[in-house]
């Protein structure tokens, strides 16, 4: 009995202690970057693609020269999309693994908890690849982030504005929308409505749904009752497919407007390509240029699939930007890295694209003390004072079961739309 008692305390302590003892070797190399992703749960497919993008970035960085002469190493932790697990994983990475910064953090609940419980107290930058909630802009404005928060994903305002313009351009006036009750959904819904109304459109029904349900009949019936010209669906693949199938089978129109969460082959397969010929999708766009193209080619070569998905491109840029900043910073303390992040966007700098050769070129310039301007997979990366980025939007479609890009709205067009709708 006493043996079991003692044994179980040992088990408890063992798992917490055994590996950290090995991590005590305080060597400078390799430089560790922590990444926390919802690898198990409903966002697993998004997280997996994001993690692959991160690995590609690490490969490129190490092939191009690493950070301060050392290779970088990714420490991957699953946060199970649960803040208490995520905070523990981040704390462990910060204090025991001694990572130099944390990236990933796809959902706002994880970002919020990790930011207040780990990043700010431990003075580590948090470079989120996919957080879209406006909460963090507000937090930064209030000074609660100590400037440690950066994100590579344009906030929902930009996406929603592009979506609204695409709706009007497709000729739809009265739109119904269905969106999930999470930070992304409510953000897109609010901003889309505002911009659409400023362009002369009307939202005839706005129905929220709770994720991960087996059926959305009730919500679909509410939407049908409003008799809209088109339906905007904001969802990830699983729920989006359920909603679309029920909508179509109950007689809903095929005039669909799709959020970027549905920009995936799995969605096309689940619903049926022939029903999606008239669908209009919107997504954050990379400026079509050598940076984005090089990344797409590299990703395609390595993983045999196109990088279609909400967080893939921003995650690549997050790691490259972090690595460049770490090279510019005088040392690898959190505050030094934080202060060097905006030095990668010098307007007078040499334009640096994506890929190992471009990275090596950047390192050479940094060594000589010359300015650089990173134009990555998501286009020119420019952090504003709150750590946010803006960007262009693109319109995508599905023809014969293949995902394609129809057109792009530039950063300036989007900015004008947002200004107009703010009045």
């Amino acid at each position: 009995m006493k043996a079991y008692y003692a044994g179980s305390i040992a088990l408890g302590a063992l798992l917490a202690l055994v590996q950290p003892v090995a991590a005590q070797r305080t060597a400078a190399c390799p430089v560790k970057i922590g990444i926390t992703l919802p690898l198990s749960g409903s966002l697993a497919s998004v997280a997996k693609a994001t993690s692959e993008s991160a690995n590609l970035a690490v490969e490129h960085v190490n092939a191009g020269g690493g950070v301060k002469g050392c290779p970088i190493q990714l420490i991957v932790r699953d946060d199970q999309n649960q803040p208490n697990v995520g905070v523990d994983a981040a704390k462990y990475m910060a204090e025991v693994e001694r990572v130099s910064l944390i990236t990933g953090a796809l959902t706002s609940s994880i970002v919020g908890a990790v930011l207040t419980a780990v990043a700010v107290p431990n003075k580590l930058p948090l470079v989120s690849s996919c957080a879209s909630a406006e909460t963090f802009t507000k937090m930064a404005e209030e000074g609660r982030t100590n400037g440690l928060f950066f994100r590579l994903y344009a906030t929902v305002r930009t996406q929603a504005a592009g979506g609204a313009k695409a709706t009007i351009d497709a000729g739809y006036k009265n739109v119904a929308m269905i969106y999930p009750t999470n930070d992304l959904g409510t953000g897109v819904a609010t901003n889309y409505t505002r911009v659409l109304e400023s362009l002369g459109g009307k939202v005839v029904a706005a129905v929220p749904f709770n994720e991960n349900q087996p059926s959305y009949r009730a919500e679909v019936n509410q939407l049908l009752a409003a008799k809209p010209d088109a339906l905007l669906i904001v969802a990830f693949v699983q729920d989006g497919a359920t909603i679309t199938r029920e909508w179509l089978s109950l007689g809903g129109t095929q005039n669909l407007i799709l959020h970027n969460g549905l920009r995936s082959k799995e969605y096309v397969r689940a619903v049926g390509a022939k029903f999606l010929e008239k669908a209009v999708g919107f997504d954050n766009a990379a400026v079509a240029g050598p940076g984005a193209d090089a990344f797409t080619k590299a990703y395609q070569t390595k993983y045999n699939t196109a990088p279609n998905g909400p967080c893939i491109l921003p995650q690549y840029d997050a790691i490259i930007v972090s690595s460049l900043a770490m090279n510019i910073a005088p040392d690898l303390s959190g505050t030094a890295i934080r202060d060097s992040v905006r030095k990668i966007q010098d307007p007078k700098g040499t334009v640096i694209g994506t890929g190992p050769a471009a990275y090596a070129q950047a390192l050479a310039l940094i060594k000589e003390g010359k300015p650089i301007k990173y134009v990555g997979a998501t286009g020119p990366v420019e952090f504003d004072r709150n750590g946010d980025v803006t960007g262009p939007t693109l319109v995508w479609n599905i023809r014969n079961g293949e995902l394609g890009v129809e057109k792009t709205y530039s950063q300036e067009e989007i900015a004008t739309l947002l200004q107009k709708s703010a009045k």
Partner: protein, 316 residues
């Protein structure tokens, strides 16, 4: 070494916070036999109440009264008690599986209300201006975490000693009588409904207190903190540690949380870099495996219930 120590302080603090909730659940299930499958609902009520009462006012939110933290904490306990009374009155006559389904439903409803009532809870964006006790005393992570750990040790000791006392009292014996044979207890004149309601409420107050402490420690609250998985985690802590025993509840808290977090850290070391993504799946498998193996070897939990607990049982 400092890093490891700092992490362990953080780890222990979280273990103690969950430990209080597990002891509350122990009172409900271990001593009274109430199958509360909606543990996370009270955790959420406690967490949101302390945030709404003590956070600084923010535009767009109707709560956030900026009251002192202690008031927030007491408020969380009071609101949890009220919620438990309401839910208890509705469900106390239910037994076993039926009580489980009803409480599970209420917990889901609470989480969904939190998700949708944006004006009160911040909705899916969460509430960010949660005050932490005495945060203004120090900005450095380590001294503050040590202070919070000491605070948690004090709280947990008070709760533990209190529970041990009331469980070894006549009141505690009635609870156990109700658990073992309710008809006999009623035949002896005990008001079954009253006692079960009392146990339910006291347990819920502890779970709410735990939720409030958790939110105060992290500083950020969102509906994702209160998913049904948390109910599972707390139940696993109780069952693995040993239900019907407060030390078992605390031990289970340590063991299960160590398994949950340690498996993740272990995967980082064991899995080669190319397969790190799959490491997450392995982590989930490992957690399940360890829980099952522990229960196979110790079906009554690591520390089972003690058979005789009255101080006077040995008297003549």
């Amino acid at each position: 070494m400092v890093g490891l120590l700092s992490y362990l302080i953080f780890f222990l603090t979280v273990v103690l916070i969950f430990g209080i909730a597990t002891m509350g659940l122990n009172l409900q299930w271990g001593f009274t036999g109430l199958f509360n499958a909606g543990v996370v609902g009270f955790f959420a009520i406690g967490g949101y109440t302390v945030a709404i009462l003590s956070a600084q006012p923010q535009a767009g939110l109707i709560g956030n009264f900026g009251l002192p933290w202690v008031v927030g904490l007491l408020g969380a306990m009071v609101v949890s008690a009220l919620a438990a009374l309401i839910i208890g009155f509705a469900t106390v006559r239910l037994r076993g599986d039926y009580l489980a389904v009803a409480t599970f439903g209420t917990a889901m409803s609470i989480q969904i209300v939190a998700l949708n009532w944006g004006a009160l809870t911040g909705g899916s964006q969460g509430m960010v201006s949660v005050t932490r006790p005495l945060q203004h005393l120090t900005r450095d992570a380590i001294p503050y975490n040590v202070f919070f750990l000491l605070l948690m040790l004090a709280c947990t000791t008070v709760v533990y000693v209190g529970l041990e006392r009331i469980v070894r009292s006549p009141w505690g014996r009635v609870l156990r009588a109700l658990r073992e044979d309710e008809t006999a207890a009623i035949a002896l004149g005990k008001n079954a409904v009253g006692y079960r309601l009392q146990a339910f409420v006291v347990g819920a107050v502890l779970i709410g207190l735990s939720g409030a402490l958790y939110v105060s420690y992290v500083g950020f609250v969102s509906p994702a903190d209160f998913v049904p998985m948390v109910t599972f985690q707390l139940w696993a802590m109780l069952i693995v540690g040993g239900s019907g025993n407060n030390r078992g509840a605390l031990l289970g808290s340590l063991v299960v949380w160590a398994i949950w977090t340690g498996s993740g850290a272990l995967m980082v070391k064991l899995v080669p870099p190319n397969y790190q993504t799959q490491g997450a799946a392995l982590q989930s498998i490992l957690i399940g495996l360890l829980l099952v193996v522990t229960l196979l070897y110790r079906p009554r939990g690591i520390i089972g219930e003690q058979a005789v607990v009255s101080r006077h049982a040995g008297d003549d």
